[in-house]
């Protein structure tokens, strides 16, 4: 028996898929901003903070980096309510994504911070800059320039990983694809289309990040 692909069957559902795509984009943008902020705080605490705080950061980073995202998601969405913290599926998705990217970016940014020569920090201090000014203008600025490519690819990885949030019914692109295939039973067609959309999204986001990097770090 031969199967005839029928992509036309997807047309009536274009609105569902577009909504899912928009959710995936918003989820990625918000958790990128929040995750990188968390990572910056984590990396700064790890290198300049008190010892106990550094220890907390290490445990956080290793726990997240050595467990699957889907388990973290299930723990937050199913596990936390049992401990008294109730979250909607959308909140849980945003939270899990942020915590996940936060751990990876902590590790990436820390590598950048450690690559900043000690003399630069000493020079900053000797110019009577405060601790925060040194961190902001001397350390982080250089660190980010160095690790920007690594951070960009991690953002893409996290974006693709976000497909998993469909499993707790957060209405992303994969969730939309699941919904469509449960209505018209054209599983292959809709997943193929969704995969292509993710691919296009990844290519566009990569190009945007590269342009952003060029603008941000233009003056060497």
């Amino acid at each position: 028996m031969t199967y005839h692909l029928q992509f036309g069957e997807l047309l009536p559902y274009w609105r569902v898929l577009v909504d899912g795509l928009v959710f995936t984009i918003v989820l990625t943008v918000v958790s990128t901003v929040a995750g990188v902020a968390l990572g910056t705080a984590g990396a700064s605490a790890r290198t300049f903070g008190p010892k106990w705080l550094g220890g907390v950061v290490v445990v956080y980073v290793e726990l997240i980096r050595n467990t699957p995202f889907i388990v973290q998601l299930f723990f937050i969405f199913f596990g936390l309510p049992a401990a008294g913290v109730k979250l909607s599926e959308t909140t849980a998705a945003f939270l899990a994504m942020t915590i996940n990217l936060g751990a990876y970016s902590t590790e990436i940014i820390r590598a950048g911070i450690e690559a900043v020569p000690k003399g630069h920090i000493e020079a900053g201090v000797s110019l009577a800059m405060s601790k925060w000014e040194v961190l902001r203008y001397v350390v982080l600025k250089q660190a980010f320039r160095k690790i920007y490519p690594a951070l960009s690819s991690q953002i893409i990885i996290v974006m693709l990983g976000s497909a998993v949030v469909s499993q707790i019914s957060a209405p992303d692109l994969t969730y939309a694809a699941n919904l469509v295939q449960s209505r018209n039973f054209r599983a292959f067609e809709v997943y193929f289309l969704a995969t292509l959309l993710y691919l296009v999204l990844a290519v566009i986001v990569r190009a945007l990040l590269r342009t952003l990097g060029r603008v941000l770090f233009k003056a060497a």
Partner: protein, 216 residues
């Protein structure tokens, strides 16, 4: 209604862990073999071999692993071939792994000094001989650490096989949660087992990386 003690939950999860380990091994070993073949194609400098390999890598690195699993699970069935969740998962994870390993290894091959290529070329070695006897032995030394590091990603990747219905650690966790209604405990244990599988590998990879930097 059967009562599950904490030990019952844990021992059931351990049984499922065997499947996680098996699936990881299949994906990693088969992915390594496919990746090695692709590496030869990718670094061959023959345009019509390089271009499709690039496209392959772009596809598997640029789309969610979950979508790849769905495509294999539902796609192969279109040809009238029944696929079990294990087959679909093993196949998708193998190809996904191979794409990443090819890219990692390409970086290692390219870090071998250009002169090594020229010297072996001038000794009339063919491309495959150059790779086999000159380039790969040197690249392999650099490749160990990132390859071990990537094996952690493979183990974590197998968790997605639960979504197409393959009963491994994550799926077993979901099933046990459904009978015991103790999600906090069950998912903590699941996370703990994954951590015990992955952390030693991460740690080992980091140490290897450090040792290599010292050697330079």
């Amino acid at each position: 209604m059967v009562d599950f003690s904490v030990w019952d939950i844990f021992s059931n999860l351990l049984i499922a862990t065997e499947w996680t380990i098996l699936l990881s091994l299949i994906a990693f070993v088969c992915g390594g073999v496919v990746g090695l073949i692709l590496l030869f194609l990718r670094t061959s400098q023959v345009p019509w071999l390089v271009a499709p390999t690039k496209l392959y890598i772009e596809f598997f690195q640029g789309t969610p692993l979950l979508m790849q699993l769905f495509l294999f699970f539902f796609g192969v069935a279109l040809f009238g071939i029944e696929v079990s969740p294990l087959t679909a998962a093993a196949l998708a994870l193998t190809l996904w792994t191979s794409a990443f390993l090819t890219e990692i290894w390409r970086g290692c091959v390219e870090s071998v000094p250009r002169g090594q290529w020229e010297a072996s070329g001038s000794l009339a070695l063919s491309y495959v001989e150059q790779m086999r006897y000159v380039i790969l032995p040197q690249a392999a030394r650099i490749a160990v650490a990132p390859t071990v590091g990537f094996s952690v990603q493979v183990i974590k990747g197998t968790a997605l096989a639960s979504i197409i219905g393959f009963v491994e650690l994550t799926k077993a966790g979901t099933m046990l949660n459904n009978v015991t209604f103790r999600p906090f405990l069950v998912y903590s244990l699941v996370a703990l087992i994954y951590f015990c599988l992955c952390f030693p590998l991460s740690f080992f990879a980091k140490r290897l990386e450090g040792r290599l930097n010292v050697a330079r």
